[in-house]
């Protein structure tokens, strides 16, 4: 369990770090995910699913902090579920960016999205391990309570 927690924390750090690495290149200028989405929002705007995913993107770090607080407060299952949601969110954004074709002097830099996706994979793995572990613990407790051999 402790290893999963450490792994999850490392995944969160990696994911957040990835969002600050280069995501977009325009000429000689590289931008991280926040600056990229900011300028693209001003220039062309986002619509539909992209708008939904990117509306709260700058708050990713705060949500990750919430995951950590929930975990240290002992609410491991809630933290794991929230971590899975955050990982899915970041993976969708990073994957969407990587899938985007270059246009008009602007291209996606793969470093930022790939590091972010790596972080999300680690988070997801840790969260799943924690959830399964908690589920087993709960089942074992129930078995003990009902007198069955574990």
């Amino acid at each position: 369990m402790r290893a999963a927690l450490v792994l999850g924390a490392a995944g969160l750090v990696t994911m957040v770090l990835g969002t600050f690495l280069p995501w977009l290149r325009s000429g000689e200028v590289q931008r991280n995910s926040y600056a990229s989405f900011g300028v693209l929002r001003r220039l062309i705007g986002f619509h539909g699913a992209a708008e939904m995913l990117l509306r709260g993107w700058p708050l990713l770090g705060a949500v990750c902090a919430l995951v950590v607080v929930l975990a240290v407060a002992g609410l491991l299952r809630v933290a794991a579920v929230l971590a899975l949601v955050v990982a899915a969110w970041a993976a969708a954004v990073a994957g969407g960016a990587l899938a985007h074709q270059p246009a008009a002097g602007v291209r996606v830099e793969s470093l930022g999205p790939i590091v972010t996706i790596t972080g999300t994979v680690v988070i997801a793995a840790a969260a799943i391990v924690i959830l399964i572990s908690r589920m087993w613990d709960r089942r074992a407790s129930r078995d003990r309570a009902t007198g069955r051999a574990v």
């Binding site: 957040v16 969002t19 600050f20 977009l24 290149r25 325009s26 000429g27 000689e28 200028v29 931008r31 991280n32 926040y34 600056a35 989405f37 900011g38 300028v39 693209l40 929002r41 001003r42 220039l43 062309i44 993107w57 700058p58 708050l59 990713l60 770090g61 705060a62 949500v63 990750c64 902090a65 919430l66 950590v68 607080v69 240290v72 407060a73 002992g74 074709q101 270059p102 246009a103 008009a104 002097g105 602007v106 291209r107």
Partner: protein
């Protein structure tokens, strides 16, 4: 409880039934009655010891850790031997004697030490660190997301910032410098046009986009005029460049066109003139023609280099005209609906009423037309009187990116002795001229082409299909109209940029390349 006021207190006196206490004589007035509680210095009232359930709460000496009792466990109940000396009294004046070591025996299970967990502080520390880190990350992220140009404090700073982004070939940064109205009008259609070009195999999907424009501009040693900026009005100033160089390197071969497009557009190869390298010496330009003028527009208290104002200002100065004054301003006056805006524009065109046309143009996108309205009207050539009159005009609307496109449904035009009605019917046109009806569809144009003896090469099936699809885009052409403060205005720039998009929209796969080959063969 009644006690003598100053009786010596002996906590062991009462529990010891063998000890007799000599009572003092009763004072005059009797004993003092203490109604409630005790004074701080008083010993606690004696309460009979509870049934023995373990060691008394004595905390003086450490629990006895000596050899375990070897005999049988003592029976519960009062212990033999000397009475226990109960807990330390709170009195400051009386201290119980320390119990002799070894006289106190630990009975029952050992006292559990109260758990002194360090988890709480650690959890709080980690949570605090996580919250601070998360807040910091979000703060930086939000700052970064607003880190674009966002206007400058002065026109010169705006132009200098644009030059900086030019030198870095930062297309996003350059576009971010445009005033918001121009930016929106240019970029929505431009973005759509690039998507169309890729869909129709004109631009490579995986091309190196750093050179997609094919033009690299580098500015070095830019010097501004010492005379300061020229004020046009309260929201437009002109920055003058009098020194430095601008290198413009244009190379069509660097544009990531597909091979198919290059074959279709340039069957004999890209001409040598398609690439050029020019260096503009701004000091020389200043000596010969005056300074290079770049206009900046103030929007929301910030200055932006303006493409439209720069064009207008340079046109005025090249024509020898003077800057517009307050009397040249033509206020925007829109229409209540998109259709009405276009109808009023048609009527204004019919009557050569250019002032009304300017009034109907979007103040967000083309504020410059309103500011330069008087100058435009003074320089407008009087239109030739037309005998054609629009008798009836029916329009249809559909939404496009950021605007409403108004397209033709039917129009009836009269000239002396004649009347012609053209109605859009699906992909065909119903034309009625002086009572004669004719339906014109793409197939009929194709058949007419193939039947023309001058066209030695007949259209192939692929070409006919592409031409047919191209024809379906013609009814989609229209005028883009945008709303400002509840009024509808013509969006001229957007309409122009959207024209090609409307025509290219119905084309599929390599239709455009097929049509290009048809034109260039």
């Amino acid at each position: 409880m009644t006690v003598p006021p100053d009786a010596p207190y002996d906590p062991n006196a009462i529990p010891d039934p063998h000890r007799r206490v000599k009572e003092p004589p009763m004072p005059q007035g009797g004993w003092v009655t203490v109604p409630h509680g005790r004074t701080q210095s008083d010993p606690p009232p004696y309460e009979a010891p509870p049934p023995h359930q373990g060691p008394p709460p004595y905390e003086g000496p450490p629990p006895y850790q000596g050899p375990p009792p070897t005999g049988p466990a003592p029976a519960p109940g009062p212990q033999p031997g000397p009475p226990p000396e109960w807990q330390t009294q709170p009195s400051s004046g009386w201290q119980p004697p320390a119990p002799p070591p070894g006289t106190w025996e630990q009975l029952g299970p050992p006292l559990p030490q109260p758990p002194r967990s360090r988890r709480g502080p650690v959890v709080a520390a980690i949570a605090a660190v996580a919250l601070i880190a998360g807040g910091t990350v979000s703060y930086i992220a939000i700052s970064d997301s607003h880190s674009g140009y966002g206007g400058a404090a002065t026109p010169r700073e705006a132009v200098a910032s644009l030059v900086s982004d030019l030198n870095k070939s930062d297309l996003l940064g350059i576009l971010d410098h445009l005033p918001p109205g121009e930016r929106s009008a240019l970029l929505d259609p431009l973005s759509e046009a690039i998507d169309q070009a890729k869909r129709l195999r004109v631009l490579k999907e995986t091309a190196d986009p750093a050179a997609v424009s094919g033009v690299a501009v580098t500015a070095t040693g830019i010097k501004f005029a010492s005379s300061g900026d020229e004020t046009i009005n309260d929201h437009v100033k002109v920055v003058k460049l009098v020194g430095g160089t601008i290198d413009i390197n244009a190379d069509l071969s660097r544009v990531p066109f597909t091979e198919q497009y290059l074959d279709a557009a340039f069957p004999n190869g890209i001409p040598a003139s398609a690439s050029s390298n020019e260096t503009i010496n701004l000091a020389k330009v200043d000596r010969e023609h005056g300074p290079v003028r770049i206009a900046a527009e103030k929007v929301g208290g910030k200055w932006y280099p303006s493409l439209m104002y720069t064009i207008a200002d340079n046109m005025v100065h090249q024509s020898g005209d003077v800057n517009p004054g307050p009397s040249d301003y033509i206020a925007a006056q829109g229409a209540p609906s998109p259709v009405e805006a276009v109808k009023q524009a048609v009527v204004a065109l019919e009557n050569s009423d250019y002032q009304r046309l300017i009034e109907l143009t979007s103040p967000d996108e083309l504020r410059v037309l309103h500011d330069y309205g008087g100058v435009i009207l003074r320089n407008a050539s009087p239109a030739a009187t037309s005998q054609a009159k629009v008798k009836d005009l029916q329009l249809t609307t559909h939404p496009v990116s950021g605007a409403v496109r108004v397209s033709l449904k039917s129009i009836t035009v009269t000239t002396p002795g004649h009347e012609t009605t053209v109605a859009v019917a699906g992909n065909c046109l119903d034309i009625t001229s002086d009572g004669n009806y004719q339906k014109v569809c793409a197939n009929e144009i194709i058949n007419a082409w193939n039947a023309d003896p001058q066209h030695t090469k007949k259209l192939t099936g692929e070409q006919a299909a592409a031409l047919s699809r191209f024809a379906t885009g013609i009814p989609q052409i229209g005028i883009d109209v945008t709303a400002t403060d509840g009024q509808w205005y013509l969006s001229a720039m957007r309409t122009y940029m959207d024209l090609s998009n409307a025509l290219l929209e119905p084309l599929q796969d390599n239709d455009l390349l097929v049509l290009l080959k048809l034109v260039t063969r």
